[in-house]
Amino acid sequence: MAATELSFYDRISDALANPDGQLAIAAGARAKYDNRARAMSEFPNMEITRDRARSIRAHTLSQLDKFLAEFADNVEALGGHIFWAKDAQECNQYINEIARAKDVQLVAKAKSMLTEEISLNQSLETSGIDVVETDLGEFIVQLSGDKPSHIIAPILHMTREDVGNVFKEKLNVPFSDDPATLNAIARAHMREIFLKADMGISGVNFGVSESGAICLVTNEGNGRLISTAPRIHVAVMGMERLVPTLADLSIMLQLLARSATGQKLSVYSNILCGPRRKNEYDGPEELHIVILDNGRSEILGSTLSEILYCIRCGACLNACPVFHSIGGHAYGSVYPGPVGSVLSPLLFGDPWNPLPHASSLCGACKEVCPVDIDLPGLLLKSRSQQIVKGKSPLWMRLSQWVYAITSCNPILFGLALRSGQVVSRLLANDGWFTTLPGPLQGWSIHRDFPALAQKSFRQLWDKPSQD
C-alpha cells in the first residue's frame, strides 16, 4: 500500500472538520457496538466460547506450517489449485496469468480486505479486465472512487443522501435516498454481472485444514453468487486464516457473526470444498486458492504475533472512541481502528508508525475482541519498538532524552521541579493551566492541565508536617 500525501495528523484534522461524516461514523459504530453487546449477552457460556476460540487461534498459529501443508494437500486432492504467494506482486501476477490464459474479460468480486491490501483490482484493471465489486457497500465505494472506511461496513462514513447522489450520477437513475429503492437498483444492475462474469474473486474468512474447505461469510449472497456462477473461482487467503477442523469453524462462525453485526449467524455461511464435482448441477469448473504471506511470516516471528489471531469482525473499531471521532479514512490504511493501528506499521512500514499512538489505551477493544487479543498491550509494544529502533519522531526522542538525564540526576531533577513550581505559581489559574504554549496547545484545547503542587513529594518527605 502506498502512503498518502497527507500526514496522519492532517487526515485527523480533516476528519474532525467534517461533522456529517463524524456523526454518521459514530452513530453507525455505536449501533454495531450495541448489537454486539446484546448478542453476546444472550450467548450461552460466552466467556468459555471466547477462551476456546482464542485457544483455537493460538493452537493453529503454533503449528501453522503443519496446518498449511494439510490444507493444501486436501485442496489439491479435491481438484483445486494452490498457489503460494510471497507478496502482493506474486499474487497479482498469478491471478493476471490465469485471467489471460482463460480469456477472462469480466471479474465479479466479493468484499475482501486482503485484495484491498494488495491492490488487486488496480492490477487487473491495468491488464484491461473489468472488475466489479459486488458487496453493496464496496460497489458504492467503487462507483464513487472512494475507499472503504470500515472493514465490514465500507460506507459507514456516507449518509443516504451521499449514496443517492452517487447512484444518480454514476448509474443515471432518479435521485432517491430510500435504502430499499437504492438496494433494488443495485440488485438489478449487478444481476447481469454475476451471470456473465468469467471469474469470481473472493477473500477467505476461514480455511479448514482437515478438509481443504474454505468458508466465505456474507449477508447479501454475493459471496455465493461469485463462487457459483462464474466458471473460475479465485480465493485469496491470508496464510494465518486457517482453523484445524469443521467443529472449530462452527465456533468461529458464531463468534464472528455476533461480534460483527450482532447476528447469531451471518445469513450465508458458505463452505466450499473444491470445484464443482462430477454430476453436480452447478458451481465453478476451476478453483484457485492463493495463500498469501505478504509480511505475515515476519509478524508471526515477532513479539506482536498475537495480532494474527484476528478474525476481522470489526468489533474493536466499533468500540474505539478514537475511531468514533476520526473514522476509518484518517488511518490511511485498509485496516483502521485498534487492529489496524497494530497491523498497518507491520504490513506497510514506517509511514504508518503514528497509528499506534492514536489510542488512549482504554481497553474497550480488548474487551470486545472475540479472540481476546490484548490490543492495548500490542499498541504499547508497537510504540516501544519504534523507540528501540529509533523510529519515533525527533521531538519525542529529544524530550525522552532530556527526561532521562534529568530524572537520573537528583540536582537537575530538583531544579526542574522548582522551575516547574515557579511557572505554575505565575501562570496557573487556581491550580490549572487553561492554555499551553506552542506544540502543547493540542492538550489544552479541550481540557485543562494540572499545575505542579507547590510542595513536592520530596519536600514533604524531607520535612514531615508536625501533626
Binding site: 461496513a153 474447505a213 455465493r224 508471526l300
Partner: protein, 226 residues
C-alpha cells in the same frame, strides 16, 4: 513461490510450539442439546422468524404441497426451478406443479463457457426456487443445504423467492451438534451452505434491507414426519 520455500519460512519463525492442544471439554453446553422435538421445533420457528424467514407448518405431504401451490399462486410468472423430485421430502411435486401449468426450468448448468452464460441468463427469469434441506439448526433458525447431484446451488440463490421444504426429524439443536453427528457433511459435496434468513444488508446507514443478491423472501415449510 515454491511450496517448500513458503512453508520453510513459516517453520523458521514459529517460536513457541508447546501450546496446549485443544481442550474439547471446554465446549459450551447448550440447554437445547437434550431438548425434546417440540421444544426444538418451537425454538427453530422462533429463531427463523426473528431473522425474517416465514415459517409454515404442514401436518403431512399433501398440506405441504398445497402450501407450495398457494405460495406460487401469488407470483407474477409461472416459472420455477427446484431440486430434483427424489431430493425433496415430498413426492410428485414436479408432476403436481406441471398439471397446474407451472413450468420447471432445468437447473443443470452446462460446463461449456458460452452455453453456461446462456443458461444463467435463462434461469434468471425464474421467480421461485424450491429446495429441500439436509438439516435445520434450532438455536439459529438456519437451514443447511448440500450441493449434491439433483440439488443445485442456484435454486436457493438466484430466484427472488426461496421455498425450503424441511421435515421435523431434520432439526438439530445447534451447528456443533449437526457437525458432530454428520462430520462428513463438510467435505462430501463441493458446497455446504448454512442459510440463516433471507439475503440482507445494512450497508446504507445501518438500515436493514432484504433481498440484495440472494432471495429476499425465504419460506420454510416444516413437514411433520414423526
Amino acid at each position: 513461490m515454491k511450496r517448500a520455500h513458503f512453508l520453510q519460512k513459516v517453520s523458521s519463525v514459529i517460536g513457541n510450539r508447546t501450546l496446549p492442544d485443544q481442550d474439547d471439554t471446554s465446549t459450551r453446553q447448550n440447554a437445547l442439546a437434550t431438548a425434546d422435538l417440540q421444544t426444538l421445533m418451537n425454538k427453530f420457528i422462533e429463531e427463523a422468524n426473528a431473522v425474517k424467514a416465514e415459517t409454515h407448518l404442514a401436518s403431512d405431504d399433501e398440506v405441504a404441497l398445497e402450501t407450495v401451490m398457494q405460495l406460487l399462486n401469488n407470483q407474477t410468472n409461472n416459472k420455477y426451478m427446484s431440486w430434483d423430485d427424489g431430493c425433496l421430502p415430498i413426492k410428485n411435486l414436479e408432476q403436481r406443479l406441471d398439471s397446474a401449468d407451472y413450468l420447471r426450468y432445468q437447473s443443470t448448468v452446462p460446463r461449456d463457457t458460452a452455453k453456461r452464460t446462456r443458461a444463467h441468463i435463462k434461469l434468471a427469469e425464474v421467480s421461485v426456487g424450491i429446495t429441500g434441506c439436509n438439516a435445520a439448526l434450532a438455536d439459529t433458525g438456519s437451514i443447511v443445504l448440500e450441493s449434491k447431484p439433483g440439488q443445485g446451488r442456484l435454486s436457493s440463490l438466484l430466484p427472488a423467492i426461496h421455498i425450503a421444504l424441511i421435515t421435523t426429524d431434520q432439526i438439530y439443536p445447534t451447528m456443533e451438534s449437526y457437525i458432530k453427528s454428520q462430520p462428513e457433511a463438510g467435505y462430501r459435496s463441493s458446497n455446504l451452505i448454512v442459510v440463516t434468513g433471507p439475503s440482507r444488508t445494512a450497508d446504507i446507514t445501518q438500515t436493514l434491507t432484504l433481498g440484495v443478491h440472494g432471495p429476499g423472501t425465504l419460506h420454510i415449510i416444516i413437514i411433520d414426519k414423526v
